[in-house]
Symmetry: C2
Subunit: 321 residues, 2 copies
């Protein structure tokens, strides 16, 4: 199979579009389908429904020997919550499909749920259903999160316009730096602070809602696969290009630029703001930095300013395919 | 891990119940959580939302060497639609998380989607999103189906009362008979008719809605794991016992009683009807047989009448755990 994730998503999207006529006649209709952080369904009420699914496989997305069970439970849900944050939404209910190898330790399962429930509880999210199975190989976890956003107010990837400023929350590259430590086989206990961004990412729900309530973001998505590839997706969805400034990208001391540019799993928010509204963005919201890193441009090209020179932005983020 | 699926679901349900307070304050609230065919969410509109997830793993739920890709695509969605049928609901949108081993043939993927889309289209269902990944072992598919039912009209498992009649749709044991053929290594081409119930199960959506519109079923679920274990689940949810008549259980000629009693994946509907309303159930609806197979009783015991004698109903259905 030579499909990249992008080709695969394109394939799905085309197939799904052909068949959309039939189900839009009545009831819930699909405002935004495949290709954004969440699907958006509109019904009769004042709120649109946001739905996201995230699949995590042992050996592909994580290693059990590197990651404690409660961190995995946390992260499975955090991925879904981050997609809700990326639309400016409020998460409500989660559904978990979980397959475990026979012989999985009881305590492992308890700790997995402890991590998941801690994050669910602190965000007012209920575990409302799911499915279970025995796995022949590793752990498989698929999380579905259902959220809400005021009618027509979900922030899509497709709203960026030339001239808009490009912003990010927090600092980037922390998860990649943690992964790097693990790959080097360093002793982990002493480095827990360095591993926190990788093991306990905090979905940016309150910032997403803050931006949504004020109508400040023209487009938004979460950084799950890396700034360069995720920015490319936002630009593709909006039909625009972009130029970002390497020096502006917020990262911790000693984090290589490459980790901030191409490292996945930071779960920070990437958003755009019209030039007219950019003055309303503070440098900090709800305890997290907001940083302007570049500008949306006409055309389709992605550029990086590094050491005063403009070059092509290499798109290298993580693809699970 | 020694958890059975039932213990696992119980564990989840208890954990989820403890945390339900927080999220019921506002917006979508959970009318029915873990432990039915679908979760039921109520919002502001005239319709409740039905949500179900079904996880299928290669080597656990299917074998690729036995099953064509389009049949697998069909069945992945059919499982989810059957859960919507079991609530008397109308399916609207599906979300698919799919992991494929590297090297999966392009045509296999196209056929998988052809099977899935054919069933989606004939039921007015849109593929609205999902996630993809490369798998280190076999195919992993998790389907989410979102449907609707008129407010408070979803048919739960918990409504059966002593004296209610027990009914099933269609004939039982067909999927188990097909699986038996495959296990024997018989040549498949000549036997397609026998394999149809296993490979192309038809979710009973129109019958489910027919029963729902008329308010005839006091409880309902779909037969995914086998009549004996699924009846035990319905009785447990309703706090009742049951007695069924072996001779009444509808099955094809030469299908052993054991397949009809304990074989999974028939995806027929099991429902109960109050004695007062039982006269309104015809012997056929929308081209499928409806058959009375027993009665709900006080207490918790499950009994089987076989050759004129009453015995304990052995509960042997398929558990994925």
């Amino acid at each position: 199979l030579k499909l990249t994730e992008r080709q695969f998503v394109e394939k799905l999207r085309r197939a799904a579009r052909r068949r959309m006529g039939a189900s839009t006649r009545r009831g819930l209709h699909l405002r935004q389908g495949i290709g954004d952080d969440c699907a958006v369904l509109s019904g009769a009420g004042k709120y649109d429904l946001l739905i996201t699914t995230d699949l995590m496989l042992e050996g592909v997305h994580f290693r059990r020997e590197w990651q404690q069970a409660d961190s995995l439970g946390h992260k499975v849900l955090a991925r879904g919550l981050s997609d809700i944050a990326a639309m400016g939404g409020i998460p409500r209910h989660a559904f978990l499909s979980l397959a475990l190898p026979r012989g999985t330790d009881f305590r492992w399962v308890d700790q997995f749920f402890a991590g998941l429930f801690r994050l669910a509880e602190s965000n007012g999210v209920t575990l409302a259903g799911g499915d279970t199975a025995a796995s022949m190989s590793g752990v498989v976890a698929d999380i579905v999160v259902i959220g809400e956003a005021p009618r027509r107010k979900a922030i899509l990837r497709s709203g960026a316009r030339p001239g808009d400023e490009i912003w990010v929350t927090g600092v980037l590259g922390g998860a990649a730096a943690g992964l790097d430590l693990l790959r080097q086989g360093k002793r982990i206990a002493r480095r827990t602070q360095t591993l926190r961004p990788l093991f306990y990412p905090q979905p940016r729900l309150s910032i997403g809602r803050w931006l949504s309530r004020r109508g400040l973001a023209s487009a938004m998505m979460d950084l799950s696969d890396g700034l360069s590839i995720d920015l490319a997706r936002l630009c593709q969805a909006s039909g625009v290009g972009a130029c970002i400034d390497a020096d502006a990208i917020p990262r911790l001391r000693r984090t290589p630029l490459e980790y901030a540019l191409h490292g996945g799993e930071d779960f920070e928010l990437l958003f755009t703001v019209s030039a007219r509204r950019a003055g309303k963005i503070p440098t900090q919201v709800e305890g997290a930095r907001l940083t302007r890193i570049g500008q949306i441009q006409r055309g389709r090209r992605l550029r990086l300013i590094r050491a005063g020179r403009e070059e092509v932005l290499p798109v290298l983020g993580f693809e699970h395919f």
